[in-house]
Subunit: 634 residues, 2 copies
């Protein structure tokens, strides 16, 4: 754990990371107060080509996790970190105060080590903690009936400016356009309660009931509040983090900013390598999304990798260290009980969770109960002073299809349900982690049992991977499972990258994983029938049908790739306004033919339905003689 | 349609296409006769490392669509085409004969055009046709109670040498290994009848009932029989084909051979560009998998792209042309009825099927019923003389989530059910094409209605894509839908490549699409509970757990990518035997810890379950003092 020479922490931002996305503009929807400004991305569109009606197409609004990076009005300087947008809200509650000294011995040691000066983020403010006996969790406020600015923020955010969008559409007076763009298939929600319009009070009630969490540590005021719960949009998490083998602070900050650009709703820093403390500080100070960690990883580093030397005291110090830095949620493998460990002996792949295996080893070595479990009450006492949410880790999740839904996994899940109730007694926010590797026919059981045994606490699943036979493609084997479990009710999906099982994800893998999970989460929203979810699909399909190529690219999750793929077949700019599809060429473009059919019917002063009902044999003849060759050679 | 200069048809094979896959060997399982040799791929494995038991790991057997290309014993010469392995079986049935002259005027014209000499495949044999009044379809034989060699071939193929594999395992006398490798979760089959062991008689009965098809044109004797039906393994199709904009004969043959290497069970040649006839001949003569086409594409070329100039006569000539070349199945959009066309006027994206839009345009122009529908009986009369199966095209499939499961789509599906019964009266084999773009909650309805309305004829779906918002990633949006509909009962999944909606797939896209669909089909097999499906997952997971990196790569669908990804993090050869995972490094390898836990328990002469039950506090102390640091630094 030696300090790196200063040259190694040159932290800079790739220009690609801070460009606004094409035809996109950051907007802020203001809430009940002027310092409550909720970011969204507005994607503007071109007008429909004249021959298809020439109508204007209203901009659409999409969820935007990218923070100030994509706002040209914000000056980004990683050395300074992001503006603490929530600082005022936290302060005005008057229930916390700056710590007199750092609560963690380890933090104090790092802070006073001059060898680390070169790589330390220069944080000028003092960490906060609840006043003695206080509780600063969003769940606590919710249960006191308080609607916090954070709750109002997420309410506005979840509504995605839909009222405004529909109003715009209505103002066009174009009923067909309104119908096309706002219609949506009924969903199948498996018991989720989806509201046409999310109110701050609804958010409060969901948080109070434990069905949703808003992970917002008071020491991470830079974060833009977001919510995780099955009655809201399905979220995704991207994992980053160095390992003993590779990576640097710069690379991790780069992966974080790159990940949120493409839609990561939260980031987990799973670093296990050098300078974990300092790496995390850089990430937190520059992250507009909640950051999660697995504190046991760092604790293990502190005992030089000897799991049996871990103790509650070391972990406790680590929890305080990280809570004071601003980590928004901790994965804690508190459900790996001594008596469950032997259940994994019959498995194909044993224990595959890193945290789970560490705790299992500790339990076996000491023949004692997991200290996270035995100290869970004390742990909650600490976390409520910072509002760190708990993500109850599934340390015994299956690492292969073979091990799916086995006794060990389900035994732990039941324990997580018990722990949830303990956390809730402290008003500590909780979510439950889920598998892993699960074939499709066993996925539903995971969701149903989680809802039942864990009292509807939000489920946060890794995939699940639906087969083991495709290393190199596990972002896809898992997206199949993720879309389904998201549909059934999982609140947040933890991404899997193509490198899963094989190597550490790089920048490109992070993007591939994020986009894959964004589309899976969106497929889940559509299937649940999340109000307004289909607006973006509708807009993109309309653009596609009208050969508005640029709009089609820009409305998609990855405009850059869409454009690049189109360029490979039809590189010319003129092709971007071509009225045929690059796949089939001008002769075989079915969309073109459909347009022609529709235009013909309309040119007869009747819609095509009426045309045929009246029996239009004469008109058919006219069609042949006048229309002749219907598609223009380009 | 001018001939290309000779230099343009240099057809050659990339060396990468004919290398056996790593640690793989082509084997042939012999049937009841010496000329019935069913190819499979045997993947051998290394022994378990000594510290984990040192046991031998038996080779596993996987379905192999790659044909003679991956058999070093076969000399491949594209100019000669593949050996006609079925020629003897066809001949000995004595129910067909060489045609006196080519049945298609167009074929005769092409054959006699000296300008085409340079690009013509030099086929030395004469096409066959049923003797007058005869019927040479597999369905006809099945209904006559005959088990053909083709049926026996697919029965052996579907069993994947499982008896042999299990016998091998039993011979080791290692009960734990047998349990680990052969255990499988019960499936949810939605009414599919999956047999522990497929017999030739079962194949016959399924074909006779119309629940499965074996697409084997008597003029494509090079093909290795395969079966499409929901009571068999889920299959996948890969589309290739040139367009007016690009591609060459060489490129298409290259894509076909590359596609089958990675697992395409059938190939559709969707060419719409130059020299369709000659391109197809090269593909057929070199394809060991069934080849499908959409004959209306070529018919449209013959009338210079004017859909209204199409006629039954032109199409009829095209059907005969292609049937005599050996096309195994035709997509025919015979369900696009005049009265359904107006139903598409209310759609977001109209008609997106190329064939569907051509037929719709013809219907509207003439105000007459679709000539494929009105001549369907005559059409079946032709096809049964060659055993060309019909794939009833869904010309009105939805092209957007918005249009999913609408009136137009479902009206056509019902008509496809009527046409199925007409085809079956001629013993012509039929499958039904399905969508398209469908959000998850509407997928099941497609499957259920298809089974009901189309009398359990095999369903063959494109995706479906579960959202429209990810151009560039539609192989994934659709794999999510494909895995689900495959689970529900779809017999064959038509792949979608990353280029969908954006451009023509190249060689890399073909591979990406094929692997994505192979994993989706396999996920479906697992979920249905297809007997033995989990063997490959189990073997790969065991290799993964035992740090047999090379075996993990080789047992996967794409060993090359898995190895390359691993190399990116840990490039050294020594890392391929490293006992830790490249993702986490040696300290954090949970698998390593699990191994240690298990090894410790075993070293105490008890399994870990008993160890804990007995209360092993003393042993725990021993564990700490003796084991000390459990993971070795590498």
């Amino acid at each position: 754990m030696n300090a790196l020479p200063q040259s190694e922490i040159r932290i800079s931002l790739d220009q690609a990371t801070i460009q606004p996305l094409p035809n996109s503009r950051k907007i802020y929807v203001e809430g009940s107060r002027s310092d409550l400004r909720v970011p969204m991305r507005e994607i503007s569109q071109s007008a429909t080509p004249t021959q298809f009606g020439g109508e204007d197409n209203p901009p659409i609004y999409v969820y935007d996790a990218s923070g100030p990076y994509t706002d040209p009005a914000c000056a980004i300087n990683l050395e300074n970190g992001l503006a603490p947008l929530r600082a005022g809200w936290i302060e005005e509650r008057r229930d916390c105060q700056p710590v007199e000294e750092l609560g963690s011995a380890y933090s104090r040691e790092r802070a006073s080590d001059p060898a680390l000066d070169a790589l330390r983020f220069n944080l000028k403010r003092t960490p906060l903690r609840a006043k003695p006996g206080g509780n600063v969790t969003q769940m606590h406020y919710a249960r006191c009936g308080i609607v916090t600015p954070e709750m109002e923020f997420v309410a506005i955010r979840e509504n995605l400016h839909r009222d405004h969008y529909l109003q715009q559409l209505r103002e066009t007076g174009n009923q067909r356009m309104l119908d096309l763009l706002s219609r949506q298939h009924p969903g199948q929600s498996f018991g989720a309660r989806l509201s046409e319009r999310i109110t701050p009070e609804f958010v409060r009630d969901e948080v109070a009931a434990g069905r949703a969490i808003i992970p917002v540590n008071i020491n991470h005021p830079e974060s833009e509040p977001m919510i995780i719960g099955r009655n809201f949009l399905v979220k995704i998490n991207g994992n980053i983090g160095n390992s003993a083998l590779s990576s640097s602070i710069h690379d991790e900050v780069d992966k974080m900013t790159w990940g949120i650009r493409w839609g990561a709703d939260t980031i987990m820093d799973l670093s296990t390598g050098k300078n974990i403390h300092e790496t995390r500080e850089w990430i937190l100070r520059n992250s507009p999304v909640p950051v999660g960690t697995v504190p046991i990883y760092q604790a293990l580093e502190k005992v030089n990798g000897k799991a049996e030397d871990l103790s509650w005291d070391i972990l406790r110090d680590t929890l305080i260290e990280q809570a004071e830095q601003g980590v928004d949620y901790f994965t804690l493998h508190a459900g790996v009980l001594l008596r469950y460990v032997p259940l994994t002996a019959k498995r194909m792949t044993g224990i595959v969770s890193r945290g789970g295996s560490i705790m299992a080893k500790w339990c076996l070595a000491h023949h004692q109960e997991n200290f996270l479990y035995t100290h869970f009450d004390e742990l909650c006492q600490i976390l409520k002073q910072y509002d760190v949410a708990i993500s109850l880790g599934d340390g015994l999740r299956p690492g292969s299809v073979f091990d799916a839904n086995d006794e060990a996994q389900l035994a732990e899940l039941k324990t997580l349900g018990e722990l949830t109730q303990i956390a809730w007694r402290h008003d500590v926010q909780v979510m439950i982690e889920g598998p892993g590797h699960v074939p499709m026919q066993l996925i539903r059981e995971n969701m149903d049992k989680e809802l039942d045994w864990c009292h509807e606490a939000p489920f946060y699943t890794l995939g699940p991977l639906t087969t083991d036979i495709a290393p190199g493609y596990d972002h896809i084997t898992s997206a199949i499972g993720a879309a389904q479990i998201g549909w059934y009710g999982t609140a947040m999906l933890c991404y899997v990258t193509p490198k899963e099982h094989l190597g550490l994800p790089d920048r490109n893998d992070v993007k591939e994983g994020i986009i894959t999970y964004k589309l899976a989460a969106h497929a889940a929203d559509l299937a649940k029938g999340h109000p307004g979810a289909q607006i973006r699909d509708n807009a993109l399909s309309k653009a596609r049908f009208e050969f508005r190529w640029e709009d089609q690219f820009n409305l998609g999750l990855d405009p850059d790739r869409a454009r690049a793929f189109h360029d490979q077949t039809l590189p010319k700019d003129s092709a971007k306004v071509a009225h045929f599809c690059s796949m089939c060429g001008p002769q075989f473009c079915s969309m073109k033919i459909t347009q022609d059919v529709r235009a013909y019917a309309e040119s007869q002063g009747i819609d095509s339905q009426q045309a045929l009902k009246q029996g239009m044999k004469d008109k058919a003849i006219e069609f042949i003689s006048s229309g002749g060759k219907l598609y223009d050679k380009v």
